[in-house]
Symmetry: C2
Subunit: 348 residues, 2 copies
Amino acid sequence: MAATINDIAQKAGVSLATVSRVINHSPHVSEKSRKKVEQAVHELNYIPNAYARGLSKNQSDIIGVIVPEITNPFFSEIIKGISEIGDKNNLNVLFFNTDENANKEERALHILQEYRIRGLIITPVTGVNSYDQEYVRRFERLNIPIVLMDRSIKNSSLDGIYFDDRTAIFKITSLLIEKGHRNITAFIGNPQHVVSKNRVKGYRDAFEAHSLSFNPQHLIPGEFSIESSYQITKQLILNHQLPTAFLGTTNMLSMGCLKALYEYNIAIPNEIAFAGYDKLEMYDVFHLNLTLVEKDAQEMGRQAAKLLLEKLSGNKSSNKIILIPELYIRGSENYPTQNPNLRNFESD
Amino acid sequence: MAATINDIAQKAGVSLATVSRVINHSPHVSEKSRKKVEQAVHELNYIPNAYARGLSKNQSDIIGVIVPEITNPFFSEIIKGISEIGDKNNLNVLFFNTDENANKEERALHILQEYRIRGLIITPVTGVNSYDQEYVRRFERLNIPIVLMDRSIKNSSLDGIYFDDRTAIFKITSLLIEKGHRNITAFIGNPQHVVSKNRVKGYRDAFEAHSLSFNPQHLIPGEFSIESSYQITKQLILNHQLPTAFLGTTNMLSMGCLKALYEYNIAIPNEIAFAGYDKLEMYDVFHLNLTLVEKDAQEMGRQAAKLLLEKLSGNKSSNKIILIPELYIRGSENYPTQNPNLRNFESD
DNA sequence: ACAAAAAATGTAAACGTTTACAAAACAGAA
DNA sequence: TTCTGTTTTGTAAACGTTTACATTTTTTGT
């Protein structure tokens, strides 16, 4: 159906090779031939076949992008950043959403290998037991560069780009401590999960740096979901066990906590302090003036793609880029003037 | 470098064809051969080459997905839905973000044609002048099904999936009218844009259905952005020209309006009524109890993918799926008890 | 044990490019 | 005109699969 290079050659009265040269902008082709070929290409609506080209050149122009949850704004921003740089460099994105499911991830990786991808950008489904991600070695053996995003993999010396989660949480916890808070209840999701580790470290380090002992009970485990931190916060409210400050270490965890606080009309910072890691558009819309450590996800995407490009152009050295999220102090960290624990909440 | 089907054949002591049969789960191959081949595949880490396969079968397993703005939650939800169905049906997603830029769209389409995609799911950059989208005919000629999402194209009989925007706005405008509102100021973005047309129609129809004349001045044009409706709302506040009800016809426009209202602490619905089209997670988090017509974007993605699958399996009839968004009445539509226009706002 | 039928296997061409190499055309110098 | 060097063009093999067809092997029935 679709026209091939042969049809063009025939129509233009030249050989296959000449057509190929014109298409690939080879300098060594006469003006006359070029014109004839371009004319034929136009008339027959010729568009080269990526499969034939890929096979012939033994090279793909696809990069794989795998994220756990595209509906999380953090990741959709990242995708946008990657997409932007990919576009500019003629690399196309084959996209997969894993839903935090290791099987889906494995399937995605398999497909990407079929496509002999140039490189991979991935936020792995690093679960609890960080089980041996053997695909890493598989790709290494095939000389396909991998750029890890936001989650590292156990004892791997892979290229990757991360936010300095420890420092982020250290900064914000320190601020809270300095503002007088001692019970800083932090939602940390699954403490065995890579996402959690550095954050917990930052929290502990902050207490240590201020010569304070820290109470492990103030680190609240749970799932990395709105629902999880929502329910926990709700329980704390109903049990009159509110701290002076809440700390949300991911945007999902922050949202759940805020949801409960708003449900019971507990004012920030009048009745309770709140600080969080990562920003959301909605904070701005509602003028919440939350004190946050903010990360620029789109920039992370761009830099991840650029790092991959560097690997593709031969840079062998292993790179880890650490982005430092910035602390924005907006007032929500102030010590509360009232104690909501004294209020009478209806139990459901 | 990577093992080929030849290597497997040699190692297993069978022919190419047999290896191919095993890989493709053809029934006509002996248990003995199957075992040998599987063993060899495993030992050599063989993974078939998608380019060779695609060329040989003259068929791709890629679908193109083009959206204007992935960071808009509406679209990231859609992508998730498409991805889910694609995964289940062994179709892979080559993804493009156009940034509402027609050139980027054109480039994306070209690349997708190179990949001889099975089908296309697209929310086109239908700009103001809805200039002739010739790629539609190009794809039709090539027999590649297109599924349009959320934005139709002028006089095309393409398959597509849409929300019934007219009915959505009709419903919600009617509700506001019935609640006593007469000045319902609606943000409509660019009135020349496809996105706007049906919404405006719904608004007018609602007034007409209630035998009321409608005031075109209450339809506020602007860009489809937070900033646009934010600035406009702010001006109305400062000029003491607030209506009794605001209507946000897209989530961006709603956010901008809400942002201004929150900035000046104008309470909903005590001081002003608000209703919107499309929901956001944040509304729930903050218990805004907004009266909304809600669309399920993820479902739209799933159905778009399913529609495409149907076309791929030969259904020739042209399908337009219209999803009816549901109205949720939560109180924000009530007639205000105070008039914020009487308050004294500081001018900036 | 043999023929016939069924099942398994193998051979080779095809898919649409790129590219190494060979050949031809052209230009300039003698 | 002829030679040389340069530029342009063409030929054919290669990339790794699938698949139609031919061939071989196995099974079944007598």
